[in-house]
């Protein structure tokens, strides 16, 4: 579906990756991760086919490729009910925006923070 080569997160051309490189230890699991660029390309394809929300999810996913597993867990946990205060959620959004260059996810979290606040599911002050 695409003309450009698909590159993995570590920049390898997907068409040039071979089993042999895995066996020789030349490539690791990290070299087989999907890249932000590829996820955005998939988002375009989804959007074009009429799946607007699927596309948005893939764009947010693209922003998360650079975030470590551990930090993803932490962010997920903060978004669960009653875990973070309104201010902490806003700070999280800020961090996503500036440190992780994840503006879509940041906006999503910011909107969530407003709603959590209004609906009373932010962490209560100690």
């Amino acid at each position: 579906m695409t003309t450009q080569p698909i590159r993995t997160l570590s920049g390898k051309n997907i068409d040039e990756i071979e089993l042999q490189q895995i066996l020789s230890g030349e490539l690791s699991a990290e070299d087989l991760r999907i890249s932000a660029e590829t996820l955005r390309m998939q988002a375009e394809a989804a959007e074009k086919a009429g799946y607007r929300q699927v596309a948005q999810n893939l764009r947010r996913a693209a922003e998360l490729t650079g975030i470590s597993n551990r930090e993803l867990f932490e962010i997920y946990d903060q978004l669960r009910p009653g875990r973070a205060s309104y201010e902490q959620l806003l700070a999280l959004a800020q961090r996503l925006e500036t440190t992780h260059r994840a503006p879509l996810t940041a906006a999503f979290v910011r909107h969530g923070a407003e709603v959590y606040h209004r609906c009373g599911i932010t962490r209560k002050a100690e």
Binding site: Q53, N57, E63, L72
Partner: protein
Amino acid sequence: MKSKRFEKLAERPVNQETFINSWPETGLTTDDSPDDPRPSLTLENGTVMEMDGVAREDFDLIDHFIAEYALDRKTAAEAMAKDSVEIARMLVDIQVSRATVLQWTRGCTAAKIVDIIRQMNVLEMMMGLTKMRARKTPANQAHVTNRKEHPALLAADAAEAALRGFHEIETTVGVTRYAPFNALAILVGSQTGRAGVLTQCAVEEATNLRLGFKGLTSYSETLSVYGTQRTFIDGDDTPWSKAFLQAAYASRGVKTRFTSGTGAAALMGHSEGKSMLYLEARALLVTRGAGSQGSQNGSISCIALPESLPGGVRMVLAENLIAAMLGLELASGNDALASHSEMRKTAKLMLQFIPGTDFITSGYGAIPRYDNMFGGGNFDVSELDDWYVLQRDMQVDGGITPVKEKQVLAMRDRAARAIQAVFKALEFPPITDAEVLAAVSAFDSRDMPDRDRVADIEAAQRLLGGPLSVVDVIQALEKTGFAEIAANIFEMQRQRAIGDYLQPAAVFDENFKVLSALTDANNYQGPGTGYRLEGKRWTQLQDLPAAWEPRSYLKSLAGSGTKKEWLTEKNPTTAGSGPEVVIAVSPAFGTVIHRSIGGLNLREVLVSLMEGIRQEQVKVRLVRIYHTADCAFIGHAGAGLSGSKVAVGIQSKGTAVIHQKDLAPLENLELFPQAPNLNLDTYRLIGKNAARYALGKPVIPVAVKIDSTARLRLIVQTTLLQYHENQLVDPRRAPVELILRGKEQSL
């Protein structure tokens, strides 16, 4: 007074179930609670100010999420103004494409969606589902688990499930800490059975995510969403946390779908007085708003709750249809035990089976029920042949492929040996040859040796927490002679980096070609369009393990019959005289057919008839009729030759008649149409009665056993025997006299 019929009915399996009246205040109502809102929407400058009767300032978490992310605010005003009946008709109308319907539904609120669905009956919903399903090619998903969490058995079962054509296989655990091993075992097993099968291990989110990140699983459908805020909170999540989690999975190339279902909120006591379907519509809008490509719904584990209510099964179909009309991939339930009654269970299945969904069941037990750790499951291995027959009967693709025992054994052996090799290479607790052997032929985990569970759990945690990943698995397989499995798992990883299978309704075929809503979009618009079960796939689904070739039927019978000629033909016969009984046999009797349909040796049948006749001191004459193969006409022709005017007519399949010359051909003295129920004693009595008719003595008709299943079991064989009988009919050939060779008493 008590009715014996009511007493019997009360014992029927269906009466083990609970049936109640609706009680809307508690959420125990299908789709029409008085508290369900009427559809409404107020937009101001693109902002939702009011939705389904709730003002923006009163929105809960879910309202906010739907208003912001799920509703297409550009088309909403028009969609909401459209008559619900008209949209319902579009769902049924083959002239209206799926894409057109999606344009209308994307602007609908939850109440509007329910209002559309309320206009439809079950048949119309099935039509809707056939058209609105995202992927053109239907598929199915399997459960592979076992009580011992035995890795060799898991691998073997996953291989078999893959061979049987399941596109997704999910496992789960009894003990959470086993999860990494279970995920590993079904990964190796599935890629042994068929390349490109997607796998998941259903455990709590943190572990699940780690398994996905390690490359041990390729999809996740554990993301539950609900229709009320309090249910969400009880589930310790929000639409935002679930949406984020999903994006996290996608960021590692893992496919996800959300899970919801009618009854969940009522079960948890948080229905807020709303109907089940309305709340499910909200959950599905959250699903779409979060950008999930799909949904597993259809009440799932709550199935018995909607089924207790009037219209409950209709509603479960309705929720499936809602998922599809929101453009979501649909794994349509049928996974949790839906009834004690086989009739009810199957009837419910048909609502998804006939229209076809992206996954007809969201978990078919590819293991015995005993081993199903997803709460027992609805269908399991013991019902596979029933499933195959239903597919073949209706020419419907239910997503499961018939296979032969030999293939299954080979594949199970390969998978069990592969996981054994992986365990050895990665220094996990060894899997012995005895365990491999047991796994190949096992029925369930009771056939498996016990393992050291402490050591397994310890090693499984090492896999989860340590540096080992799918790459080490690939290397281990390659080095130990399982190159093809290594290659398949490697390709799964490569596909994760490509991400085509993150698109809606994506599965892989056996060549890693992605079939999704983008590459294999459902284009159903009536006859001649959409998915058609034909060609190679139809041939495959016809090939039941139990199906046989009718052309070789006679050959299969010949093996069990007498080879030596035992009936010799003499000259054309003439009419006899005096008290005799003629036995008139059909053209194939004792020539090409030597056994009755009931399995009796025809020579013994003949001798029994003769013995019965001679008991009454009456002579017997044997003749063969060539001009007809019809039992009545054979008997009548024999009677015409008989000195007493009485004859027994008999066909190769064993059907017999006692006839008399003066009767019309289709009349008779006694008829024995159910040949399978006749034994040698019956034939002896038939002979005896014929002789007594010949002598003019009083006769008590022969009593025969009545077996109402005989026709069901043997109509095919009857047809084939009649065919071979007819092949030997010669209309111009006169009856011939026969001699029975060999001693009668030697039998």
